[in-house]
Symmetry: C2
Subunit: 668 residues, 2 copies
């Protein structure tokens, strides 16, 4: 005959499906922020018509041994959906699971209530309820009295009214949930991991600058000390993170000249991404920048300015990198004994040797790469921007990032992968805190809307946290080349309001550097990647005022500190994009509501009608809504449901509108 099934699973009466957040069904960690409410959802149901109860169990899972589970009741909604929230109170690894069971307690109470309403007696139901209460009493000392006394009332037949009243007393609910039996309960057969980052992982403004160009007179190579001299400027603009391109010795073999030429002059500095020379590799400092001590001093100075430093980690080697001679087996050796350089056939990049993750000594390579991070962590760095992570093996990243976060959960890694969406999202799943995006190439209002909607969708948001960059040293988009000041303003406002995490490559950005190396190129002419530049920080056309103002607005408005709260509004002009973000207070009322309108046309005034449903913000529909433009101070009055906007790129192509809440909340 048949083998008898496992009793516990065979007798389980509930099913738990579609748990969220669950990245690839729980294979990877979902991303959360310390102090946030993490909303957990699942569909829990049983056979038959009995009531169902569910609980969320959650805990911090770092530390030597697992913490005890904490439990919170899940709230039921229509069609078997249950939700609950938990607030992780520390950075690091967390996990949750869900328990569901047939709620005989509420099933009996329902039956007693229905019968009472119909004037039908329910003594047998009461006796069964009493049995449950007596079982609950056995599970507690201090609460036993309530259960026992209630059971006695339910068991007597003399006062039916009192018995029904006690059965339906909601004072029993919470104690019973805590101590009552949960026969034949189901617990999810796995736990769901959540990685909890610090706030700066979600809400931060990055400022990228080339140390080589920080000398005040611009005539010599900048140093770490010169970078210190720029920190006050960056801090004054309201940025959070100063991000430096690679600071390591630059290869001399096949070094690139200015404008990416192949015939460098002796004084040419080369690309910081061509890492390594006889002066050292990934754990050395480019001598022209200073010493490791100077770097340590810079890290301290950065903190003193209220900033954090981010380093660029680019795992590739110049031909004269020490690893090439010490570990030739970490590279791909060609049949003629040469080491393979980077190629995009038929193009050749002979200044760069990629690492070979198919190396027989992969384990030695993995450890060396991990140790590069460890080295800079030992020098106080906790934020890394990783160059082209998608050209390194996925299993390496999963292992390496776990190593880093295990050493310090405050580590943050920004993935620079401009490639297919599956690959970008995979890197997020493997542990990258943040990723660059296609923001730069979403150049119409419709494209931008659909892209942001994808990023905040449930299938992406838990795995991939975006950072929006209007420019980088590699990407000078055509929009900025031809759009002038209005394009710079519009792209900056889009980045800093559509994504809680954004960055710019400065001072090229605020000085509106916009000339490409040649027509059709996204490379800068006289790119800092290949030479020292002198920047006129105080030029009158600088957009420093906008950066300062927007960073201040972002800090004053919680609505701009996350992405999932983005709502797009229909506009009848495809050149205009309108979106709002809002936060709710504990009662679900709007607390902070921001509404942005951006003109995507840098050349012409555009106007149109914007859909605005006050009711969707919990505001009264019949009353006017007052908005204040935080850049101009102008005030507007809007009414349900369509409102006129007009934006002249010659003055400002954007509205940053704060929606007045206080007056409307009280109904005045």
């Amino acid at each position: 005959m048949s083998r008898i099934p496992d009793s516990q699973s065979a007798r389980s009466r509930t099913v738990i499906e579609r748990v969220s957040p669950a990245v690839d069904a729980g294979r990877f960690e979902a991303k959360a922020i310390v102090g946030d409410r993490v909303r957990v959802e699942a569909y829990v149901f049983g056979d038959g018509h009995d009531k169902i109860a569910a609980a969320l169990h959650y805990r911090y899972r770092g530390g030597k041994r697992p913490a005890a589970w904490k439990e919170t009741v899940m709230q039921p909604h229509a069609n078997d959906r249950f939700t609950a929230e938990f607030i992780p109170d520390r950075v690091g690894p967390w996990e949750f699971r869900i328990e569901g069971w047939v709620d005989h307690f509420e099933t009996l109470r329902y039956s007693i209530r229905k019968k009472s309403d119909a004037g039908v007696e329910s003594h047998l139901d009461q006796l069964e309820l009493a049995t449950l209460l007596r079982r609950a009493a056995e599970n507690t000392d201090d609460g036993a009295e309530l259960f026992t006394r209630s059971a006695e009332i339910l068991e007597q037949k003399t006062d039916t009214t009192e018995a029904v009243k006690r059965a339906l007393d909601d004072g029993l609910v919470d104690p019973f949930h805590r101590y009552g039996p949960r026969d034949h309960a189901t617990v999810t057969d796995r736990t769901y991991p959540v990685w909890v980052d610090r706030e700066i992982a979600r809400f931060a403004a990055w400022y990228e600058l080339f140390p080589r160009s920080t000398a005040p007179d611009g005539k010599r190579h900048g140093t770490f000390a010169d970078v210190e001299g720029r920190l006050a400027y960056v801090a004054d603009l309201g940025f959070d993170i100063v991000y430096l391109p690679p600071i390591h010795p630059i290869g001399r073999v096949n070094r690139k000249g200015r404008n990416n030429t192949l015939d460098p002059k002796p004084e040419d500095t080369g690309s910081p991404w061509a890492i390594g020379s006889d002066e050292g590799g990934h754990t050395s400092v480019h001598p022209q920048l200073g010493t490791l001590d100077d770097f340590d001093h810079l890290v301290k100075a950065t903190h003193d300015h209220g900033l954090e430093i981010a380093l660029d980690i680019a795992f590739q080697c110049a031909p004269d990198h020490p690893w090439v001679s010490e570990h030739p087996d970490w590279f791909h050796i060609r049949p003629d004994g040469s080491i393979q350089y980077a190629e995009n056939p038929p193009k050749k990049y002979q200044d760069i040797y990629p690492l070979n993750f198919e190396s027989e000594d992969w384990w030695g390579l993995w450890q060396a790469l991990r140790d590069v991070f460890f080295f800079w962590m030992d020098h106080g760095v906790r934020i890394f921007r990783v160059d082209n992570p998608h050209t390194k093996a996925f299993p390496f990243w999963e292992w390496c990032i776990a190593e880093l976060k295990s050493r310090d959960p405050n580590v943050i890694l920004l993935s620079e992968a401009f490639t297919r969406p599956n690959v970008m999202y995979r890197l997020g799943k493997l542990g990258f805190t943040l990723g660059y995006t296609y923001f730069t190439w979403r150049n119409t209002a419709a494209e931008m809307r659909s892209y942001v909607e994808e990023l905040v969708s449930d299938s992406v948001r838990w795995a991939f946290r975006p950072s929006f960059w209007p420019n980088t040293p590699d990407i000078l988009h055509a929009d900025l080349q031809v759009g002038g000041r209005p394009a710079f303003i519009a792209r900056y406002v889009l980045a800093s309001t559509l994504s809680a995490n954004y960055g710019i490559y400065g001072p090229a950005f605020e000085l509106q550097e916009h000339v490409p190396r040649e027509p059709g190129s996204e490379e800068y002419l006289h790119s800092e990647k290949y030479q020292i530049r002198k920047w006129e920080f105080d030029a009158p056309h600088s957009l420093a005022w906008l950066l300062r103002r927007m960073n201040a607005i972002r800090r004053e408005h919680p609505a701009l500190m996350s992405n999932e709260n983005t709502h797009f509004h229909d506009v009848d002009n495809p050149q205009l994009l309108c979106y709002s973000k809002s936060t709710l207070d504990a009662e679900g009322s709007p607390e902070d509501v921001m509404l942005m309108v951006v003109n995507f046309d840098p050349h012409h005034t555009q106007s149109g009608w914007v859909e605005f449903s006050a009711a969707s913000f919990g505001l009264p529909a019949e009353q006017p809504i007052f908005l204040t433009d935080l850049l101009t101070g102008e005030r507007y009055t809007w009414r349900e449901a369509w409102n006129f906007v007009m934006l002249d790129p010659g003055t400002l192509p954007v509205h940053i509108l704060s929606v007045e809440i206080s007056g409307t909340k009280s109904g005045t």
Copy 2:
């Protein structure tokens, strides 16, 4: 230091995501039909820019030991998507898995091609390709010559043209795919199960009839022999399955009278779903129907008519069912020692005792229930309609259905669960072949469209196979009560063309029985559930002609044999629903195209314009399309893109249009 990771997974360079079909990520079997092309899809990608290859492995997994894997190449599409198909050639359990690897062979060929196009030599690439070919040669005897000779040509430097030509020779592709090395390949870490049913699981018309009403004169209780007398009628109408309500002894304790009354007369027959009396239980036959031998004779006669029999399995007991005294522990005993009857508080159903799946003797209960199926299988039954499966424990069904299919994979189970979608779909996941649906309660064109779109969506179709029923003995929808003949025709056409699997409760349906027990009820007046009825099969108003014609059309048109090929067409009148179904030949050209239009308004002529894009069927857009109404013989000519339709319920509220393909295919 760190523990060294598992070498195989650490060195794996590809990722396989979003495998389909995969019900709950492979936890449950996906549903397929023998002989079908099962389309498998996955996203396969690697780090870096190398080419990726993928293969599908599949096999029958029944039998004593697993069969060998068969392999087929997966075709690459945009954004890392790969697809392949396999055709299961026998009923039963199958499984597949996916393998992905970095395709150094195609990566090198790509490099050689690009360099050749640019006039750049590629000798090192050729040498590496030669190495790969020599490794392939080691894996085969009969194909070694091709690889070895090609390697020699690639290794020589004298004739560059010949070397490049050989490298790019597509004759190498298939042999290399078969014998070439697959270093650092990834195989999905689980296999994905597929259950393969016979054709009748998908494409079948069910006819439900009450044996009690089959006596020719209608004056006595019908018998199995009388049922045999009705088989010619059912077969002539073109049905595939004759389904009988429970055939077991009917309880006498608390028996219901006519029209579900509580004061039965002695001659009242009671409900066949109140199962069990001193005459026996679920493995006995109601004496008034005949004997087990008579039943066996009926099963044979059914097959002789080209039909299959389906039995109703209703796991519940009348108070006088033998199990109640033999196994009181299989029921819920109340505090006063009584057995709990069914309730929907405050309503009581004292003629029915539900089984208690929380019984301590759950294992004895499970086996007894499974043995009920086995008993009827021993009597030749392979199709079961299961009454209210959602009120029995889910783990029981998963175990029980596996037992039944393991005994005979030809078993088919139709779930009668009218409950929340999660529960209905879960029963499909647990192994139910088919499920009743909400079809009956989708009464506007818009509701019907969105419901069918949900059923054929990827998240539902692999788990849940629908059966559409315009009526059942329990459900006489208001539409049929008030809509008259047009409503019966429209609902029948919808069921039989929107769902490859459908059924009716006859002859109530074709005779348009439409009077409810009382206003607002979905119960029939004088329901056969509680009494014997005499039916006038030959009544002139019978819709037998429609049933016969539609079943013939379904058999002549492969387009109507599945659901996933359903496409809805926009119509500018919300009372009209238009949809088409089509099959494609091996070249992807349309083979059979059917287009249906249904007027949901039984009282008024409705007309409107229907969107019809010939191009979406692979037909030339500029040419007229010819359609023939298979019910009326009328012919229509349609042109891209909007066409006028008008349906008068007084004549026929439907179009069943066959789209002429042959002429257009050849372009004439």
